[in-house]
């Protein structure tokens, strides 16, 4: 047996050309949509100073979309890697409901005082608290041997409903003015992003993205599951908890900026897995970000600037994402 040494040509075996077609299409589409959002249907003709003022104000929306797309795409793929499944996402497991509950509890406990302090410091504290809760909750859910996806999905849905009910109960006890403030924060849309906080959020997300990118090879090993990862010398528990913290941070940032998005991350990740043949994170992560950018800018551009129905962007994305989720569950089942 050992003497039969058939060796493949080295070069052919080594270079695995990642086929960049999907990335090129997604990147080009994102670029077109970004330019479209910025200049299409600009009421001021090109060349006048007002033109650039409008472009500048619209660029806030583009920056917000970019932030959300990066957050959701990275968070979902990383969550899939950390938990060893490709269907459940943090949002489906009640993360958004947790956000709603925390916001409500904040206003309930501190009253209007909670709403008067604004700015990066508050958002930082909020995000940190949310990261802590989410890491504890999902770290506990996915630890141990009860890795049954059906049970997890059920627990996630029940948790989501439970958080939602508690939120609703607390909201009934609020004064109308407090409720008004809370509602404007919970039903966020791309237009509501706080431009003052945006640069800070982008800085944090950029830092996270760099760290994740540098650890992409470890992520490839984590995706092989606990036993194989431990065998290959990865400090599995530490890595997974770290990953869950990162996921929590990304979702917290995205949710703080534009409000809950339940199925967007799922949609992006599932599309990405369809396009790539390789499962390496060095390929999957950039492509997921590009697809997230293209789909969110595309939806925003078409709905805002072609049909003039801006508020519907998240609704349409969630509708398509929810449909995709159902189709995947029905076709493949939970494995």
């Amino acid at each position: 047996m050992a003497e039969v040494m058939i060796r493949m040509p080295r070069a052919a075996a080594r270079t695995q050309h990642p086929r960049p077609l999907g990335a090129i299409i997604a990147g080009a589409a994102a670029l077109v949509f970004v330019v479209g959002i910025l200049v299409w249907d600009n009421p001021v003709p090109y060349g006048q100073p007002g033109f650039w003022i409008i472009v500048e104000s619209r660029s806030v929306a583009v920056a917000t979309i970019a932030l959300v797309a990066v957050c959701q795409a990275l968070a979902t793929v990383l969550f899939h890697t950390a938990t060893g499944n490709r269907i459940l996402t943090p949002s489906i497991l009640g993360f958004d409901a947790l956000y709603t509950l925390m916001q409500t509890a904040l206003v309930f406990v501190f009253g209007m005082a909670a709403t008067q302090v604004e700015g990066p410091a508050k958002i930082l504290v909020q995000s940190l608290a949310m990261m802590l809760f989410a890491t504890l909750l999902y770290g506990w859910l996915f630890s141990g041997r009860r890795q049954n996806l059906h049970v997890l999905l059920l627990v996630g849905v029940v948790l989501g409903v439970g958080f939602g009910s508690v939120s609703t109960f607390l909201q009934r006890l609020l004064t109308p003015s407090e409720f008004d403030v809370l509602a404007s924060r919970l039903h966020g849309s791309i237009g509501n992003a706080n431009p003052e906080v945006l640069p800070w959020a982008e800085l944090v997300v950029a830092a996270i993205a760099v760290v994740v990118w540098r650890r992409r090879r470890v992520l490839d090993v984590l995706a092989l599951g606990r036993d194989t990862a431990v065998n290959l010398g990865v400090a599995y528990r530490r890595e997974v908890v770290g990953l869950l913290v990162v996921v929590a941070a990304l979702i917290a940032i995205s949710t703080t900026m534009i409000g809950p998005m339940t199925f967007f991350g799922f949609l992006v990740a599932t599309l990405t897995y369809q396009f790539v043949r390789s499962d390496r994170h060095g390929v999957v992560l950039p492509l997921a970000v590009l697809i997230g950018l293209a789909s969110l800018t595309g939806a925003y551009f078409v709905l805002q600037h072609v049909f003039y129905t801006a508020g519907l962007v998240t609704v349409v994305i969630e509708f398509v994402g929810g449909l995709a989720f159902l189709i995947v569950i029905l076709r493949k089942g939970l494995r």
């Binding site: 493949m8 075996a13 080594r14 992409r216 470890v218 090993v221 995706a223 092989l224 065998n231 290959l232």
Partner: protein, 280 residues
């Protein structure tokens, strides 16, 4: 073969709830060769193997492999000394054989494959006769081929100690015999210390240098195949009547039917009776 133990277990115990799964066990396994863990279901073979391979934490006691304490040593250092392959391996990711084997180099390369890594991958692939399959995806392979690919991965890891949990599970006769021969070669040619859980004691008898028999979470017998492959020892270990016969220099356990089989040369009505053979 030197006599320094490469694996040492000192008072290792493991329980699930109130039931005792293993130990306390003291054990030393010498460097080199093939060691087979045998025993009835629930004897603690796999538990012991996965504790040595640090996939499972022991409740008490200490395990040292290649001079490292598996509970406290750095994961990356351990991964260069001991590799373990469990029986079931389900991946979400879709990998080719070569990509899988390349993961075995991770402890050395941290994912950045150097020329020496590619050589080790080529060697492991050739050693398990997978060269013609190296660009196929794992889910396109038969059970035996996939099993060989996983073994190639742990060989590419190039550790002194290789632990395998039932590498023969789901393999037919031909593939099982080939797999054992390849593992035997890995011990002889590559100088590995191979410890494996095997269900069929006859494979242990024919291919292993040492057999460790476990029952009820403890070691009840250990030694060279000649010492373990005896009717009274095996009958005690497996708690069922076992006969050992010798055929072409190989000691084989026979245990399929407790009462003596009637001579087939005489016409025997039970042989053609289908209900009889079903109830075995």
């Amino acid at each position: 073969m030197s006599t320094t133990p490469v694996i040492t277990l000192d008072g290792v115990a493991k329980g699930y709830g109130s039931t005792r799964a293993l130990g306390p066990v003291d054990l030393e396994i010498a460097r080199g060769g093939v060691t087979a863990l045998v025993g009835p279901n629930g004897a603690g073979k796999s538990t012991m193997l996965t504790i040595i391979g640090r996939l499972l934490g022991a409740d008490a006691g200490a395990v040292r492999v290649g001079g490292l304490d598996v509970a406290t040593a750095k994961p990356r250092e351990l991964a260069k000394v001991v590799s373990i392959l469990k029986q079931e391996n389900h991946f979400v990711a879709r990998l080719t054989v070569r990509q899988l084997v390349a993961f075995g180099r991770f402890p050395h390369s941290q994912g950045r494959l150097a020329a020496s890594d590619h050589e080790a991958i080529d060697e492991a692939i050739a050693f398990l006769d997978l060269a013609h399959l190296e660009h196929r995806f794992l889910d396109e392979l038969s059970g035996g081929q996939r099993q060989r690919a996983f073994v190639a991965m742990v060989l590419a890891q190039d550790t002194e100690v290789v632990l395998l949990d039932e590498p023969l599970a789901n393999l037919d006769m031909r593939h099982a015999a080939r797999m054992m021969q390849q593992l035997r070669d890995a011990a002889d040619v590559l100088g590995k210390t191979i410890v494996l859980v095997v269900h069929d004691v006859n494979f242990a008898s024919v291919y292993a240098d040492r057999i460790i028999a476990l029952a009820d979470g403890g070691i009840v017998a250990s030694g060279a195949p000649d010492e373990i492959m005896r009717g009274e020892v095996l009958s005690r270990v497996f708690d069922t009547p076992v006969d050992v016969v010798e055929h072409a220099g190989q000691r084989l356990a026979v245990y399929y039917r407790p009462e003596p089989v009637p001579d087939p040369t005489r016409s025997d009505p039970t042989r053609s009776d289908p209900t009889r053979s079903e109830t075995r």
